[in-house]
């Protein structure tokens, strides 16, 4: 089903998506409508234009593809499904995501992946092709974040205050330049086992956006995890 979203309110657009019969929904001329596909299940949504904030918030099993840039709060608290962005994303992408995948060809704004979490078999994944703003993965509690830094090989591709308050999950950064990190985060060179662990994720990214996965993986990665020997128990009060 095709929807021409020109001058359509976000409410009407979401109602049309939900009421559509088939699985595939193509939205054209989108310009700033918020909450698209929020809480949605069982649709493949293809978007031309600029989706508004909170694209795929609480998403529960849809496949959303944006053929351009997306704005703020992509996949806010999403539960399942895949969001693929062929451009850049704004701030706070994947805020508190619980499961599913966000794949961004370009760069992410501030606060990507903050409060990402996991439980049992539910492990969210975010892959950023370019660079990110400050506060990447602040308070990360679970899941995997991979920053590939494509086109930013001469600098550290993540901003300041990366992983502040991290206490779970893992992050991989494809770079030779280690970020400045809080004492509670452990930064190691990724070994063969680590590269193997992210192989499928990078392959998925490469397939979606036309890169050579082997070439991307054949580079130096840092692996960031919470440092269990230096926990937070004395960060605020002496108890």
């Amino acid at each position: 089903m095709k929807i021409n979203a020109e001058n359509m309110s976000f409410r009407e657009l979401n109602e049309k998506i939900r009421a559509s019969r088939g699985r595939r929904v193509e939205i054209e001329n989108m310009l700033g409508q918020r909450y698209t596909g929020s809480g949605c299940t069982g649709k493949d949504i293809h978007i031309s234009g600029i989706p508004g904030n909170a694209l795929g918030a609480y998403l529960t099993g849809c496949d959303i593809t944006v053929y351009g840039n997306a704005q703020d709060a992509v996949g806010d608290a999403m539960n399942d499904g895949t969001i693929t962005i062929h451009g850049n994303v704004g701030d706070a992408a994947g805020y508190g995501m619980r499961d599913g995948k966000i794949l961004v060809k370009g760069s992410a704004g501030y606060r990507a992946g903050i409060h990402m979490k996991e439980y049992m078999e539910k492990k969210p994944l975010m892959v950023i092709g370019g660079k990110t703003g400050d506060f990447l993965a602040e308070y990360q509690a679970g899941g995997r974040i991979i920053v590939l830094g494509i086109g930013y090989e001469k600098q550290c591709p993540v901003g300041d205050f990366c992983c502040t308050g991290m206490h779970g999950g893992v992050m991989y950064i494809r770079t030779e330049h280690a970020p400045e990190l809080p004492a509670q985060v452990l930064c190691e060179d990724a070994d063969k086992a680590d590269i193997k662990a992210i192989k499928a994720d990078v392959e998925l990214f490469a397939k979606k956006f036309g890169y050579d996965a082997e070439e991307l993986l054949n580079a130096h990665f840092y692996k960031l995890t919470p440092n269990t020997s230096n926990p937070y128990r004395r960060l605020y009060v002496n108890n």
Binding site: L31, G32, I50, N69, Q71, G109, G133, D134, D160, E180
Partner: protein
């Protein structure tokens, strides 16, 4: 029971947009109205406004006052005052379009003024300072009168309503400017009142602001030491006065003003020290000397001034801002959709970092045309 701003405080989301043609090509106000309309959902209908630069070329040597009056009595009293202090070159009601979306409008008048030479000489002030003093006096002492725009060759248009309706109300499609800014308001600290809508302006400085300043009272106490009066309890007013004081009166560059109000963290200054000790020393000086003007809390602002626009985020970047270009025009907005709405094929779309000012000025051709 109704309250005006300044009389009550209710414990903000907003939208901002702006663009400037660096070559000074004047563009209809219809474009900025269209741009801000795509962020309708960021506002709640309690305030919208616009600032246009280069809109009064035939009167560009004169101060253009835009004034709200509650009643004719306030107008008569204020005009007596204006007549004593200024030569009135021209006066008229600002043309409006009556539409059902905009109600309860005050009397809205426009004056083109020159300070009276005798008054100006005896005041021993420069022309700008004389004008500022007169505006502050009207806004604090004349009940029912409020000057909401007082720059040269620029003007603010604002009201209670959604911005796209405010733009139609003021017939902005009939004005042309080389730069425009716009604001859609979602007031959370004060009830929406016409004077409290953005932009806030003093002389040719105008501010549109999305955010919530937690340092308001510290900033207010500091700036009121220098003769400003914050009458509205809204944070945007104080930002306008800070720009006026630092840029006009203290002659700080706009880059340095950004380093005062969105000063880098001490940890950041320490790391700059390693590579550029001179810059670190300057940043340290600005932070220490003017700590009372550090603005904390989330904000994204666009400052308009004669010949340029400046965009700035708080250093944590707690509000969104996107910049894009196409040809000689640079666009700034809270959301990319507001730029694409008026420039679908814009290029170099990027988000400035927190605390990183983006300053765009007229080029030589633009200066020749517009200044």
């Amino acid at each position: 029971m109704s309250f005006k701003e300044g009389e009550v405080r209710i414990p903000a989301g907003c939208a901002i947009s702006g663009f400037i043609n660096r070559s000074g090509k004047r563009v209809s106000g219809a474009d900025i109205v269209k741009s801000i309309s795509y962020m309708h959902d960021r506002s709640n209908g309690l305030g919208g406004g616009f600032a246009g630069y280069g809109i009064y070329p035939e009167y560009k040597e004169h101060y253009a006052f835009h004034v709200f009056y509650d009643n004719t009595e306030a107008r008569v009293k204020t005009e007596e005052f204006l007549d004593r202090h200024f030569d009135i070159i021209n006066l008229s009601r600002i043309p409006i379009r009556h539409i059902p979306e905009i109600k309860d409008e005050p009397l809205i008048w426009r004056y083109f003024l020159d300070p009276r030479p005798t008054k100006l000489t005896s005041s021993q002030l420069d022309e700008k300072e004389f004008t500022v003093k007169c505006v502050i006096r009207i806004n604090t002492e004349f009940d029912g009168a409020y000057v909401f725009s007082c720059g040269k060759n620029m003007g603010v248009f604002k009201a209670v309503g959604y911005p796209e309706d405010v733009g139609r109300f003021y017939r902005l499609d009939e004005y042309e400017g080389y730069a425009w800014t716009a604001h859609g308001r979602y007031p959370t600290n004060t009830p929406g009142w016409w004077g409290g809508a953005h932009p806030f302006a003093l002389l040719d400085y105008s501010i549109v602001h999305n955010g919530e300043i937690s340092s308001y009272d510290a900033n207010r106490r500091f700036i009121e030491m220098f003769g400003y009066k914050c009458t509205l309890l809204t944070d945007t007013e104080v930002i306008t006065y800070i720009f006026d004081w630092l840029n006009r009166k203290q002659s700080l560059s706009l880059e340095d003003v950004a380093s005062v109000i969105a000063a880098p963290f001490w940890s950041k200054i320490d790391s700059i020290e390693k590579t550029d000790p001179k810059r670190a020393a300057k940043l340290r000086y600005l932070r220490q000397a003017m700590s009372g003007l550090l603005i904390t809390g989330p904000f994204s602002i666009i400052l308009g001034y004669t010949g340029g626009l400046m965009a700035l985020n708080d250093r944590l970047k707690l509000r969104s801002m996107v910049v894009a270009e196409k040809g000689d025009t640079t666009y700034i907005a809270s959301e990319e959709c507001a730029i694409r709405a008026i420039c679908p094929d814009c290029e170099n779309v990027w988000s400035p970092k927190g605390g990183e000012p983006v300053i765009i000025t007229l080029n030589e051709e633009g200066k020749r045309r517009c200044l």
